[in-house]
């Protein structure tokens, strides 16, 4: 399956290095329309101004976690249908279950590679011909 290179992606992580990694990997996938935020509150506010086509978020952030952000997105009438990929070092079974129950679209465990990122994006944002 191919990738929708015109999509607008919001990436959220409190580590600027990880934001940079994600932005660079997305650029290599020819996805250039990328917004980023260092925390979940900023991301949510930005998404309310302009809704993205995909959200890629870390989990372990303070004070609002990625799980909180996911729940907030799923509870928001305008944002609830946006695919949400959790990219996190939290890899325990209970984490995956909690994220799934909150409506996550897919789950990537850190450290990850470019191919995993591409595959998960394709799986949640299939290109419509």
């Amino acid at each position: 399956m191919s990738l929708n290179k015109n999509m607008r992606v919001m990436i959220v992580d409190d580590y600027t290095t990880m934001l940079r990694i994600l932005r660079n990997l997305l650029r290599q996938l020819e996805i250039a329309n990328v917004d980023e935020a260092n925390d979940a509150e900023t991301a949510f506010a930005a998404m309310q101004r302009q809704a993205p086509d995909l959200i890629i978020s870390d989990w372990n952030m303070v004070p609002m976690t990625g799980l909180d952000l996911l729940r907030k997105v799923r509870a928001d009438g305008k944002l609830r249908h946006i695919p949400f990929i959790m990219v996190t070092a939290e890899s325990k079974t209970e984490n995956v279950i909690a994220a799934k129950q909150a409506g996550v679209s897919n789950y990537i465990v850190k450290p990850f590679n470019a191919e995993t990122l591409r595959a998960k994006i394709v799986s949640v944002c299939p290109v419509t011909a």
Partner: protein
């Protein structure tokens, strides 16, 4: 009364009761008392020694026990972040050059840049581990400060978090961490949310 003061008070009371029982036992005219007196005296001496040892604990001049250690760990965080950003600068340069050369060389350079980006995630992982260790040390330090100030009981340990807080475990050790394929299998098995 604070929990620490309450613990100190209980410790002092326990020793007071023990010493009182010892005094009462010593005046008894019973051949069986010697063993009991010896055991109780041992307990009293042990409580006394413990109180002295805890009371002798002193933080450093700035009022902290582990500040040097947490500062050094935070320094590691800063330095690894700087190093990761320099590595990324170099990778971005490689990627830019790849765009100018074309052909197989371009693909090789692009693949190298991708590998560097992937590997640079080490800073995020180590950062989370170090942050977790720093928080644990800060929590331990708070307990030690309380303990040294009031001979607090050290048995309470760290409170286990509940709710969403219990889900914030950070990276797992490699030997027990789930792989992406483990996560995928679990994710699929859960079905629709």
């Amino acid at each position: 009364m604070s929990e620490a003061s309450s613990s100190v008070s209980r410790l002092q009371d326990a020793q007071g009761y023990l010493d009182r029982v010892l005094r009462e036992l010593r005046v008894l005219n019973s051949p069986q008392k010697d063993m009991l007196v010896a055991v109780l005296q041992y307990l009293s001496d042990h409580i006394s020694a413990t109180r002295r040892e805890i009371g002798a604990m002193r933080p450093s001049a700035n009022g902290q026990f582990l500040s040097g250690t947490t500062d050094e760990l935070e320094e590691i965080l800063t330095e690894t972040a700087k190093a990761a950003n320099r590595i990324m600068d170099a990778a971005e340069t490689i990627e830019n050059v790849a765009g100018t050369v074309g052909g197989d060389a371009a693909q090789t350079l692009m693949a190298a840049a991708t590998s560097i980006y992937e590997a640079s995630a080490f800073q995020d992982i180590t950062g989370q581990r170090i942050t977790k260790a720093v928080r644990a040390l800060q929590s331990l330090e708070a307990k030690l400060v309380s303990l040294s100030g009031a001979f607090d009981s050290f048995e309470e340990g760290l409170e286990a978090p509940g709710g969403d807080q219990a889900l914030l475990n950070g990276p797992q050790v490699a030997a027990s961490a789930a792989s992406q394929s483990d996560i995928d299998a679990l994710f699929e098995s859960l079905g629709a949310p």
